[in-house]
């Protein structure tokens, strides 16, 4: 790829321009960080997958989780959105228990249970983003409709709006799901493998759209295999059933740390470091296809 990735780029430190904060946080938890975890262990049924997580995600900053399948990325994301309970330690989301502020959080899971079989039009899937605001019976306002339409335009799926979701390709469906996340207008956006199934063009659209989410005022947490994307994040957490490293992308994504995370050698090339992952024989490999032998 030529030129820098237009991803969720690191911004200069210091106070954000006032114009960036379009959505002031509600008074009761104003000032609380989107995510604050201390000594956190995540897992299922009391069994820890990753322990000793200490991380703070501030407003308008991004955190990428990088690791193999089974490294604990998805479990950490599920803990952030309240779908899994912390096994040990503590975590707050905007100063509250995870899962208690649904109106401020958007979440894209890795797999959708049965969305593909439903008789739903694409636009109806994106409208679901407004349900936390609307509750059981609230009517969609013109502003809600505008948000839905804008999100679909941003992800380039407005022309599919009235088509059945099940008639769309996997990549098109993924863009509809990403449009749903945008239409939520959340203060914390949590994405699990958002580029899965996206072609190069759609990936660029995604990167621009979610960089704009950061500028709008949201914090962003993404689990990804895309090391180039991760390198642009404010913080990167390398996971291999433990926290291998945590820090700014450029500092954390070193060949040694990636070797420890993926069990492979990694070579960076060029001043902006297009990351190439190679196996011990020097062959280039796609980390998305690499599965942790411990699984």
């Amino acid at each position: 790829m030529s030129g820098p990735v237009p991803g969720p780029v690191s911004r200069a430190s210091g106070p954000a321009p006032a114009a960036r904060r379009e959505l002031p946080a509600p008074a009761e938890d104003a000032g609380a960080d989107p995510i604050s975890a201390t000594g956190l262990a995540v897992g299922y049924e009391g069994r820890s997958i990753v322990a000793g997580i200490d991380v703070t995600v501030r407003p308008q900053t991004s955190l990428a989780l990088v690791g193999t399948n089974g490294s604990g990325k998805s479990t950490l994301l599920k803990t952030i959105v309240g779908l899994a309970r912390p096994v040990a330690g503590s975590m707050t989301v905007f100063g509250k228990q995870p899962g208690s502020l649904p109106r401020r959080i958007a979440y894209l899971s890795q797999f959708h249970a049965s969305g593909f079989a439903l008789p739903l039009r694409a636009v109806e899937v994106v409208r679901m983003a407004r349900y936390p605001e609307l509750g059981l019976l609230g009517r969609m306002s013109s502003e809600d409709h505008d948000l839905v339409a804008a999100a679909m335009r941003t992800m380039g799926v407005d022309r599919f709006a009235d088509q059945a979701l099940r008639s769309l390709s996997g990549g098109q469906q993924q863009r509809v799901y990403l449009a749903q996340v945008l239409a939520r207008r959340a203060d914390l956006v949590v994405l699990d493998e958002p580029t899965a199934g996206l072609d190069a063009g759609a990936r660029e659209i995604y990167l621009e759209a979610f960089a704009a989410e950061l500028i709008r005022g949201a914090a962003l947490v993404t689990a990804t295999h895309d090391i180039e994307e991760a390198a642009e994040y404010d913080q990167v957490m390398l996971l291999a059933r433990r926290v291998v490293a945590l820090g700014p992308g450029r500092e954390v994504l070193t060949p040694d740390a990636l070797l420890e995370t993926f069990g492979m050698f990694v070579r960076g090339s060029g001043p902006h470091g297009r990351f190439i992952v190679v196996d011990r024989g020097g062959r280039e490999v796609d980390p998305r296809e690499h599965i942790d032998p411990a699984d």
């Binding site: 109106r103 049965s114 969305g115 349900y131 936390p132 059945a164």
Partner: protein, 267 residues
């Protein structure tokens, strides 16, 4: 006959509303289990002389509670939990009924219903429950849709997935209970699945799927009653048979049309 038609149409309405969610959420097995799980409750009710519906309601609650308990306390998958409760409750029902002097008559009445013997009171109760089921489904439409789409999304969006799942099961139970007198516990399951399933084949929206389900259910009731009158067959079973036949006709027509519109591929 008119009363039977009215009862059948009411069954179609509540079964199509609830059946839509049963089909979309893949709850067919627990729907089947609930339909049979009410058997011991009905049997006990008949033996001790209380209304069958009260017994059916208790049977359904035991079924839902039992499945939830097995799932919560073991690592077994839900279909194992449902299967165990289903067979256990069915066996218990038959054991209880076998103590009755009119064993086979009672059992057949419970399993297959008496569409032609529906009373005016039954009809009023059925209408009331149908309105109630429709009202709850309307109020819970958003969380139900999210549950069908992805239970995790429902939870993250602030609609407790487990609670709404139980509400959905209670709607299935209410539909089964109120319908068993007309079409029986065995056949109500057919009315839950067949019209909504046929609707799912052709509808592009969930509301349309329900509407098609109600239409197919009503047609099946009318045709089924007509056929059973002329052929002298069991009314409830004939209605359900027509409903299932409609499903397969819709499937066939859809496949033929899809094949006809498919672009020809030159090898």
């Amino acid at each position: 006959m008119l009363r039977a038609l009215a009862a059948g149409i009411l069954v179609s309405i509540s079964c199509s509303i609830v059946g839509t969610f049963v089909v979309l959420r893949g709850l067919a097995f627990i729907g089947d289990a609930l339909a049979h799980g009410v058997l011991p409750g009905v049997a006990v009710a008949i033996l001790i002389g209380i209304p069958g519906m009260v017994g059916a309601a208790l049977g359904a609650l035991v079924m839902i509670g039992g499945v939830s308990l097995v799932q919560a306390r073991s690592r077994l998958s839900s279909d194992t939990a449902i299967g165990l409760l289903f067979v256990g409750m069915l066996a218990l029902g038959v054991v209880i009924v076998s103590r009755s002097s009119t064993f086979s008559g009672d059992l057949i009445r419970i399993l297959f219903g008496e569409l032609l013997g529906v009373s005016a009171e039954d009809l009023i109760l059925q209408a009331a429950v149908t309105v109630g089921v429709a009202a709850v489904a309307f109020v819970c439409a958003r969380p139900f849709l999210l549950l069908c789409f992805d239970p995790e999304q429902a939870q993250v969006a602030g609609f407790p997935a487990r609670a709404y799942h139980v509400v959905m099961l209670l709607l299935v139970a209410a539909t089964v209970i109120v319908s068993f007198q007309s079409v029986g516990t065995l056949l109500v399951f057919g009315m839950l699945l067949a019209p909504a399933g046929a609707g799912a084949l052709i509808a592009g929206r969930i509301g349309a799927m329900m509407a098609w389900g109600i239409a197919f259910g009503a047609i099946a009731t009318y045709l089924g009653l007509l056929l059973s009158y002329h052929l002298d067959t069991a009314a409830g079973a004939t209605v359900v048979l027509v409903a299932v036949a409609i499903f397969f006709v819709v499937l066939l027509v859809q496949n033929v049309r899809a094949r006809a519109t498919m672009p020809k591929v030159v090898a």
